[in-house]
Every structure is written in structure tokens, then in C-alpha cells.
Amino acid sequence: MPLPPLPLEAIQLGAEAESWRAAVLLAGEGLVRSGAARAGYSAEMIRMIDEHGPYVVIAPGLALAHARPGPDVLADGLAIVTLSTPVKFGHPHNDPVCVVLALAIANPLEHLSAVASLANVFNDSSAIADLAGAETPERVREIMGLA
């Protein structure tokens, strides 16, 4: 399975977020615009971080916001927000965050091939900086290997 769908409307560049919560909300809104999730999924993603800490900051500058599959997930999908001013999530090594991905997975049994595709993109260590500097949503799709 390739990456979950990342349509242009799920990409927002140079956004302003005053906190990590605002940044995750923006990424969740991308999933809502693309039809992958209902608005409630954003609250779920934030709840995961409130409950378990900022572990979603899985690489320097990058947060992969996600929650469990559930009624708020309508389809597999990915959203990307880049921040004009990086925000801190409170991670001991990987703060501040300039790129927030939101991942919605409808069927947990099939998620591994989707995240394998994500790993393929980000195992290239320049991908995060490239995304942070992307000036068009089309360029973001290109960096993600979709164009």
C-alpha cells in the first residue's frame, strides 16, 4: 500500500500556531478538509499527547500526530502543516517542531504498509527540512514521493 492519500487541500504551509495544541488542530483540519476524519479526531490526537506525552515528536522538527482508528476516522489519510514559527511539544530531544503530520488510519490491520511508505520518505534525512522549506503544496507532494 502506498502512502495514505495526501490531497492538496490537506496541506497547509507557513501556518501560525501559538502552541502544539493549535498546530495539531490545524493538521486535524487538513484531514477534515480531505474527508479522512471528522473534527473529533483532532481532539483524539491531542488527548493521546496529553495522556502519554510528546512521543509523537518522532524526529527532530517533526511531529506525527495520530490516534487510534475509531468512529471519527472516515478513511485513510495524511495531512501536513508547516509552521512559520516552530512550536515546542516538550520533547527532550526533538523540539522545536516545524512540520506536523496528521495520520488517520481506518483499518489498523493495514496500517503497517502505510507507515512503511512514510519511513521510506523520512529515512532520507533531508526530507523534514525540505518540507519545512516547501513553498507550494505541489512541492510537498513531490517531497513525499507523490508527484
Partner: protein
């Protein structure tokens, strides 16, 4: 050998850790089964695991275990995974 990767949801970050751990283990020529799980179901899968891969946030919640708990800072840095897995298993 069994390795468990842990995150809050059991999808997403633990899945990335599983995928990259499998790639590294293959290069190190170490045979292992890698299972991704959420912290809530850890007890059900950890019994026969030798290694738990996770981020620092989950160390306290994992608590006392016979498995080696390895904290990964950058999930996409296969060099970090290689060094830490090789030190634990090699």
C-alpha cells in the same frame, strides 16, 4: 527472538519503529519478530519479548520487565537504531 515496539495508539509511531527495526535487523543479520503494540496492551505481548523499543515517555509506564528497554530518539535515524540494537543484541 521477539522485539516489541510501543506507542500510545499501537499504530503510527510504533509502526514506523517496527518497520525501521526490521530493516536494521536484516542488515545486522539478526532474526527477530517485531510486534507493534500500544502501551495498554503491552502486558499481553511482552511476556516472551527480549527487547522493547520505545520513546522516553513510555519508560515509566512500561515499568518493571525482563526485557531490555531501548529508548529511540529519532525514529527515522537507522544509524541510531543500528547502534542501539547492535549493542543490545550483537
Amino acid at each position: 527472538m521477539k522485539i516489541v515496539t510501543i506507542c500510545g495508539a499501537g499504530i503510527g509511531s510504533s509502526g514506523i519503529l517496527k518497520v525501521n527495526a526490521e530493516r536494521v535487523l536484516k542488515k545486522l543479520d539478526i532474526e527477530a519478530t517485531v510486534v507493534a503494540a500500544d502501551i495498554g496492551s503491552l502486558a499481553a505481548v511482552v511476556g516472551d519479548a527480549q527487547v522493547i523499543l520505545t520513546s522516553s515517555e513510555f519508560v515509566d509506564a512500561i515499568g518493571s520487565t525482563f526485557a531490555d528497554v531501548i529508548v529511540i530518539d529519532n525514529y527515522f535515524d537507522t544509524a541510531e537504531l543500528t547502534t542501539k540494537l547492535d549493542a543490545a543484541l550483537g
